[in-house]
Amino acid sequence: MPTASTADSKLHLSPAERIQRRRLIFQDSLALLSLIAVTICIAVITYFFFNSFEKHRRVLEKRWFARGEIALASGHPADAVDDFRSALSFSSANTQYQMALAEALAASGRIDEAYAYFSTLHEAEPGNGYLNLQLARLAVQRKNPQQAIAYYQSALNGLWLSEGTERRRDIRLELARYLLSLDRFNDAQGQLLASEGNALDNPSALFAIANLLRQAQDPSDASTAFQRVERSRNANPADILASLLAESEIAATMGQYKRAAQALSRYMAKARQFPTAGTVVQKRAVEEQLDKYQRMLQLIPFYDLSPKQHIDRVLLAANIAHRRYASCAAQLGLENGPSQNLSSDDAASLSALGTQWTQLGSPNAHALAGNAPLQQRLQAWTNQAEILTASLCGAPTGDDALLLQLAQTPDKSE
């Protein structure tokens, strides 16, 4: 808007036109000022209008989220889905609400929806450990092992804002359990051994790892882990007792009865130390098992015994087995010719066993002394006799049961 008189003179305006021009400028200025005033008024109204709704929006989003949490906690995930979705419609970028919705979807069994939603969140944060873990769990439910394992691995490598070491260890355990369910024992062992390194100061985690290692058919490492639990200072008494029992079982499975017995002995000592841990029935069962192992240790012809003691034990076992054989043969009526209850093969095996015993020629300590081949033949006969009689005449008891156990794992026995 030209305002100067110089401009007037340039335009060659008449005096009347000058007045009109000034009046026009005045009117324009007034109009612009009123426009500014109107703008300010509308801005103030808009500000209050906007803020009133924003406050209301915040109230609503919190209310819906709280409702969702209550619904989820009270076991109504379908309602929680609606509530979280409502909360998100007021605050769509809220990560907490997004996660809650995805969890509610998963909890309500809407696996595909939950998977799709988590996938979208994952696209925005591919390195988020939590999202990868949730996707791995959903992939497990969707029966997609390849994807599940990949997501578990991403979760292990992903970002965790707090307690990263513990979370990764727990994920490894979860992954190991999943691998065990797929019978992928070697992979599971790898994960468990890796997580064991992060669990040395956590006996309960170590106990879980040890149990899983045992399921992963890795008794040696499982045993080591159980021993670590036992030695741990801050371990739960129940875990210590359970570890000792497990250690004993593993040792027995490996034929290491001395170690098995030692573990049970330590169990009894710990049980006395922690009277509240373990039931009376459990303790009685452990005592009985300990007695068995100790008797077994008396039967086993250890090579580190003196030759005489070794021969005595071989003979003792052979005599026990022979009595069992004779009793079984009598039970089957073989003394009076072929039995009708027995197949021809079984009868032949039993008969061959009798023949072998005869050929061994009533072995005694004198004959066995210095005759290692004869000792071995006698031990072999003992094992054979216990196995055959167990199959023909039923499960043995007492020393025969112990000899049968030894016979079944002859290579492992100490």
């Binding site: 030209p2 008189s5 021009r21």
Partner: protein, 603 residues
């Protein structure tokens, strides 16, 4: 031109104040009647230009504020009428849109008849028919009725009404400041761009849309003001809503070039969906408008009841503008079949709502349908070809652009809208591919764009921007033909030229003058010159008047020639590269013939 400094402005003001008061007789003789446009132009020739720019900023600010108010009004009404979050089975979903529909029917019939419809065509009509006039009542009516309609759950959007509110505010301000008719007419698109920019929070898309759909051409006169207004309104809107885009867009990635096939599929699906949507509107709207008068008032209520039924029986997402549902879809909250159902239901609900005459826009429903279709296609493809498909959100985003291009027929705006909404240039290939496919499919199956159909249904005949874009411009070369006769030199004597013309039976002589200029001399004028200069062998150039034919080139628009035929019966057309080189000539008859042939070819 240098900018006036504050000091010089002060001096000018001081000089103005210090000017002597005019004599009392002069003051008394000054009329108090409003000045005419011509008077204003005489006493303040630069006023219009300066005010235009300043007011553009005011229009932007006011439009931004009003659009924020408008959106807040919609939000409040939605919460009050439908509850904070509508859920299926709530009876208010049936009642609210129906009862509000009854109220709207009465309001549109008796109080705000101009508030009917989306607002785009009304703004175009204001520009082309009413000299930029949009009444204040229309602005108020549009605000109230659209807020009520969208807030109560009618399947319509707030963008088109925002555009009309902006245009209305611009018109009001222009009238208050007694701007010329020409300026008033230009203010409507300025306000429209401001309103749309604030509603979309996307200034470039708004500017492009107004140019592509409302003005139809890049006009230098108005472009600066449109940009100023759009930017001002977006600044105001962002002061309230923040600078983030309208939708949260997930990370955009093109995983593999083969993924373009998936986007091409989306383009095909979107193209057919746009045609379906257009055809439904083209059939239902005129049918409803042809019903008896008394039913017109009830139609919004009936539409509200139908939309309410959709919400009541399981899909409340279809009600209202649906921005939150678009956000949910882009973030993978729905499975592909749910998304597809939402897209189909939205097409039906919007067709019914809009056809019933309920005030409200088509932008948000178009975006909704596009996002649902896009996300649905993305989800489907991700389910069956997981290695090929990236983010589902990207598909939702591209889907919005696809429907925009196919349904609203604004291909350029659709591409830039996706850029602005995503803030990511890497999406350029999928967007261009899918949008082009959708646009071509829609254009071939539904040649008349939706806005043009609506104006024709309303009895208006506004210019079609799409047709204008496609229109071929005739150029001088189309009418050009070689010179039949001879070219004379400026040094030739008149008698020689006259003899030659007589010999050749020509009635016009084309003379090459000095400086590679041309003169066209009719035989009658030559005869006069010859008669006046008998016995003198003077060169013809010295005897001719001083003017010469204009410089005209073959590539210029043909209409450039029309202004010169009153002076020259024939126009020489010269080469741009070689000065004075004659390419051919055109006569008035040639030009008319060319236009007639072109017109005949089109008809």
């Amino acid at each position: 031109m240098s900018e006036p400094t504050a000091n010089s402005a002060f001096n000018r003001a001081a000089a103005f104040i210090a000017t002597e008061a005019p004599p009392a007789t002069v003051a008394a003789s000054v009329s108090h009647a409003p000045l005419t446009d011509a008077e204003i132009q005489r006493i303040a020739p630069t006023r219009g230009d300066r005010l235009f720019l300043v007011l553009s900023i005011f229009i932007g600010v006011l439009s931004g504020l009003l659009v924020v108010c408008f959106r807040m009004a919609i939000e409040w009404l939605r919460v009050l009428l439908l509850g904070s979050v509508p859920h299926p089975g709530q009876y208010r979903l049936l009642l609210a849109p129906m009862l509000v529909g009854l109220l709207l029917g009465a309001m549109v019939k008796y109080i705000f008849p101009q508030a009917r419809g989306s607002g785009i065509n009304q703004t175009k009509a204001a520009l082309y028919v009413y000299n930029g006039y949009i009444s204040f009542r229309t602005v108020v009516g549009k605000f109230i009725t659209s807020a009520l309609a969208i807030g109560s759950g009618h399947s319509l959007g707030p963008e088109d009404p925002s555009l009309q509110i902006g245009a209305g505010i611009a018109s009001l301000i222009g009238r208050r400041l007694h701007l010329s008719r020409e300026r008033l007419r230009l203010f409507a698109p300025v306000g429209a761009a401001a309103g749309l920019a604030a509603a979309f929070n996307a200034p470039i898309s708004a500017i492009l849309f107004v140019i592509e759909e409302v003005i139809g051409a890049w006009s230098a006169a108005v472009l600066g003001s449109i940009v100023l207004a759009a930017v001002s309104s977006v600044v105001v809107a962002r002061a309230f809503w923040g600078s983030q885009p309208m939708f949260r867009v997930p990370a955009v990635t093109l995983r593999d070039n083969r993924e373009l096939l998936a986007y091409a599929t989306l383009g095909v699906v979107g193209g057919f969906a746009a045609v379906l949507f257009s055809r439904l509107l083209a059939v239902l709207r005129p049918w409803l408008r042809s019903r008896p008068d008394w039913t017109q008032m009830l139609q919004p209520a009936a539409a509200g009841l139908l939309v309410g039924c959709v919400g009541f029986f399981g899909f409340p997402q279809v009600m209202g503008a649906g921005y939150d549902t678009i956000d949910h879809a882009m973030h993978g909250q729905y499975l592909w079949h749910v998304l597809l159902a939402l897209a189909i239901l939205k097409i039906l609900a919007t067709t019914v709502s809009f056809s019933s005459g309920t005030p409200g826009g088509m932008f948000a429903p178009t975006l909704f349908i596009g996002a649902m279709l896009g996300a649905s296609v993305g989800m489907f493809e991700k389910h069956f070809f997981p290695q090929l498909v990236g983010s589902v959100g990207t598909y939702g985003l591209v889907g919005m652009g696809v429907l925009f291009a196919g349904f609203l027929r604004v291909p350029l705006t659709s591409v830039f809208m996706v850029f602005e909404l995503s803030g990511n240039y890497s999406i350029v290939l999928p967007v261009i591919l899918a949008n082009t496919i959708a646009y071509l499919i829609a254009r071939s199956l539904q040649p008349v764009p939706i806005f043009e159909q609506l104006t024709l249904q309303d009895g208006l005949n506004l210019p079609s921007m799409e047709e204008a874009r496609e229109e071929t411009t005739l150029r001088i070369e189309d009418a050009l033909h070689p010179l039949d006769g001879q070219v004379f030199a400026g040094s030739d004597p008149p008698a020689v030229i006259a003899a030659k013309l007589q010999q050749e039976k020509e009635d016009i002589a084309l003379i090459r003058c000095a400086g590679n200029r041309w003169y066209v001399l009719p035989a009658a004028d030559l005869a006069k010159i010859t008669q006046a200069t008998t016995g003198v062998s003077q060169p013809i150039e010295e005897l001719l008047p001083e003017d010469r034919t204009p410089y005209l080139y073959p590539d210029l628009p043909l209409n450039e020639t029309l202004a010169h035929f009153h002076r020259w019966p024939l126009l020489p057309i010269v080469n741009r590269a070689v000065s004075g080189l004659l390419e051919g000539v055109v006569s008035q008859a040639d030009v008319l013939k060319c236009y007639q042939e072109h017109s005949h070819g089109h008809s």
